[in-house]
Symmetry: C2
Subunit: 165 residues, 2 copies
C-alpha cells in the first residue's frame, strides 16, 4: 500500500489572521498547488481517500487535489492538525484497512514539521527532523501489509513543487 | 552545499555480458536518462562536478548528464563502483571543499543499494535499506559546512524518473 503525505500550499501570512487555523491559501498558493495536483494526476496517481487536517489551508489544498480528480473522497481528520499524534491516524488506518475502506493508496494533507517527522518514524522508528518538505510538496511511502507500520515503511518519493511542475 | 546521488539508467541484462562492469545502457535506458537529465537542466540544476563509478553503465549515464549541460566536469572515481566505501569519497570531498574544487553542488553517479545506503548514513548515521531508488532516479541532500557529514545531512529530494519526465 502507498501512503502520501502532502503539505498544504502557500498560505496567507501569520500576521494577517488572528486565528492561525483560518489562514487560506494565497492566489500563488492555489496556483502552484493546482499545478502540482494536475501533474500528479497526469502521472497516473490516484488516492482511495484523502484525509485532511481541519485547518483552512489544508482543507483548501485537499479540495484542489480532489477537484483535479486525484480522489473522489475527502474527509477531515482532527489529529492531522499541527502537533497531531501519529498513533491516532495509524490506529485509524489499521481499522480502515481491515474494513476495506482504504485498499491501495491513502493521502494525508497536513503540516510541517509533523509530516516529515511521521515519515521518519514510519521508516526508521524515530524522527531527527531531517526531511525538508516544501509547501505543496509530498512524500511517498510503501507501507507494509502487516499491522506494524512504524519503522517498517520504505521511502520512494520526497519532492518539492519545483521538481514536479 | 547540495549533494546529488544519481543511479545509472536501465542497462543490458546481466546474462548478456560476461563482465558485469561492461554492461552498457540500453536504448530505453539512454532515452529515459536523457529525458531526466533535460528536465533537471530545465529546472536550473547544475553540478560543479560529476564523479562517476567506473562501470560502463554509470559512465554512460554521467556522459548524458554532462552532454545536456548539467556540468562540464566528469571524473571517474573507483570507489563509486558497487560495494564502494562511503568514507573514501567523503574524505575526498572534505579535501575537495578545502581546495575549492567543489563549492555548491556535487553529483555522484553510481549503483544501488550503495547510493540509498549512503544517503541514509548521511542523514541518520546508519542504513536500514529503506530508500527505493529507481534507475535514473536521484536523491538530493543538503550537506553541512562542517567536516562531519555523516548523520548531519538533510534530505530534500528522492525521486524516480516517472515523477520528473
Amino acid at each position: 500500500m502507498e501512503l502520501y503525505l502532502i503539505r498544504h500550499g502557500i498560505a496567507a501570512e501569520r500576521e494577517t489572521y488572528t486565528n492561525d487555523e483560518e489562514r487560506p491559501l494565497t492566489n500563488k498558493g492555489r496556483y502552484k498547488t493546482s499545478k502540482v495536483a494536475k501533474q500528479l494526476y497526469q502521472r497516473g496517481l490516484r488516492f482511495d481517500l484523502i484525509l485532511t487536517s481541519p485547518l483552512v489551508r489544508a482543507k483548501e489544498t485537499a479540495a484542489i487535489l480532489k477537484d483535479v480528480g486525484l480522489s473522489n473522497r475527502v474527509e477531515e481528520f482532527p489529529s492531522l492538525a499541527p502537533d497531531g499524534d501519529i498513533y491516532t491516524w495509524v490506529n485509524w488506518l489499521e481499522l480502515a484497512r481491515e474494513n476495506n475502506r482504504v485498499e491501495s493508496s491513502l493521502a494525508l494533507v497536513g503540516h510541517q514539521p509533523d509530516l516529515g517527522n511521521w515519515a521518519e518514524i514510519l521508516v526508521w522508528g524515530k524522527s531527527r527532523e531531517k526531511f525538508v518538505l516544501k509547501k505543496a510538496g509530498l512524500i511517498g511511502l510503501h507501507i507494509p501489509e502487516t499491522k506494524t507500520l512504524l519503522s517498517q515503511s520504505e521511502l520512494f518519493l520526497l519532492t518539492a513543487p519545483k521538481w514536479l511542475i
